[in-house]
Symmetry: C2
Subunit: 315 residues, 2 copies
């Protein structure tokens, strides 16, 4: 049995330049799902995760614009809504692509909660921009009504910023394991969409919080929780670079955890983009992981062992 | 092993008189989940379905009010969003109630698609009111932009009306069966929220359609698809009545499928409310079903065999 956990970037589903219609999203989805169906057809059992940035952004915007009529819902619930929205499009599109190849599989997506530490330092330092942009005037009004942290993004433009705590554990991991590792598994599982809904433990209860978990970090924790060995992160660039954007930039084909840590310390991977992917890879390879591949959806070859991309190994 | 499939009315989660805040919804949810946790604690393995009327109504309203900024999404996607929204609140609240009782279970909700027949006569006669109310002026504008059927609900008030086709088959039924009937099942499954997303088969592809499946009918098909024997429908009234609202009204404790069919033919059960529940019961009892209970959440006794309510048996 060959398995892999694959994280899809938000761009695989909706891009900044898109207007955000259903047709556009289904269209992007179809291209990615063709590649995934190839891999499943080749014998891989897959757990899939995905980003939700543009989608939850739109849901937050709708909540805000309609707030005089419909009470706006908090971020945890909006995140769950985006999981439903994307999960549906994803499971339908992938199932259709599998049917086209004559591969009979169940494709299911479920709502995932991810436990974070209520002491996480991220709660003191919100760092993740989310939702619409505001003018200075709007910010004054919001500050009277809501307990939000708002930061300037450029002259005269402001945006809400929320904590991005580290994921500790996937609440629903046992079910994912059961569906993937059953002897006669015929299941493709979509989970932890948008990094999952962040929840904290209060006594014996779970409670949603207003924050966003980095999708790649959540995927690495999920992969480790289900004893996965192979983690693939799909993104916009085919390989990880050293000195990215400089004259002497150099792509990496293979690196070890030790090298990855060194490059990370040197500041080779920016915090907003490649940094979390590399951190997540290290976390994964130091638990159940045996192999990480970072590449684009287009380069995800069937049963990819030698496809173009950056591989990271424990040593 | 004792199992049951339970359909929760939309009212168990949000009522017309509620404003629709998250606190209110969690609060209603908690009361229902206490009763469900009692039943699970008593040894039942449960599959749970729920309505989504008020919630998808709010999502449609948000989509419409914000349509100048965010492209509104079609009804199938909005329905999936509501499954995510409600599923999240439901799985978290039920898990918390189980934890309080020291009952260790996984609670998962997943996005469910339900196949309907593209020839269903409902497509010729849309009958289900959905979304916001419009003025005559607004209707004129909408008719220029959209291919909607709009009906008058009262003087000067109009509303969109969509088809309510009959559910044929639950796309994800195999996974539900796997999670519930595994030998060491520790899973509570939430599925087919809001009746599921209606999809039609086009060749070997599934495609979402703009319609709404009656939640009780979808639950009955789900229960039959997974070979369930016991179906419970939770609603506002504790028992089914004959001559409801008349001077000689009479509650029913027990009836057979034959009696149910007779009463249905006599017009005892109105199409909008009790009718679909009785039809769904008949469908279920004519396939895998052995017993149907219709009652309120409050009267759902642990392992209820003799709780107050109306029982229906095959004969």
């Amino acid at each position: 049995m060959r398995t892999a956990t694959i994280a899809l970037g938000g761009n695989a589903l909706l891009r900044k330049e898109d207007s955000g219609t259903a047709e556009e999203q289904f269209d992007r989805m179809r291209k990615t799902c063709e590649k995934l169906a190839d891999m499943i057809s080749d014998g891989f059992d897959l757990v899939l995760t995905h980003g939700n940035g543009p989608q939850v952004g739109n849901i937050l915007l709708q909540n805000e614009i309609a707030s005089h009529t419909v009470p706006p819902l908090p971020l945890d619930i909006c995140g769950a809504e985006s999981q439903g929205q994307i999960g549906y499009m994803f499971q339908q599109t992938l199932k259709n692509q599998l049917n086209k190849k004559g591969v009979d599989r169940n494709v299911v997506s479920f709502i995932t909660q991810v436990i974070v530490d209520s002491d996480d330092p991220a709660f003191e330092k919100p760092s993740k921009f989310i939702g619409p942009y505001y003018s200075e005037e709007e910010v004054e009004k919001i500050k009277k009504e809501k307990d939000w942290t708002i930061k300037k993004t450029s002259e005269g433009k402001y945006r809400r910023v929320v904590p991005s705590p580290r994921p500790k554990h996937i609440v629903e991991d046992e079910v994912i394991r059961e569906l993937i590792y059953s002897e006669k598994s015929r299941n493709v599982v979509i989970a932890a969409g948008g990094g999952g809904v962040p929840v904290v433990e209060e006594g014996d209860s779970l409670k949603g919080i207003e924050g966003v978990i980095d999708k790649d970090r959540a995927t690495a924790v999920l992969a480790a929780d289900i004893d996965e060995t192979f983690l693939i992160m799909l993104t916009d660039i085919e390989k990880v670079y050293l000195n990215y954007g400089e004259e002497d930039e150099e792509s990496i084909d293979v690196m070890t955890v030790k090298e990855a840590k060194k490059y990370l310390e040197e500041g080779q991977f920016p915090p907003g983009s490649m940094g979390p992917k590399i951190e997540a890879s290290i976390h994964f390879l130091e638990s159940s992981g045996e192999k990480v591949l970072i590449t684009t959806p287009e380069s995800l070859l069937p049963a990819s062992e030698e496809g173009p991309g950056t591989y990271i190994f424990p040593e």
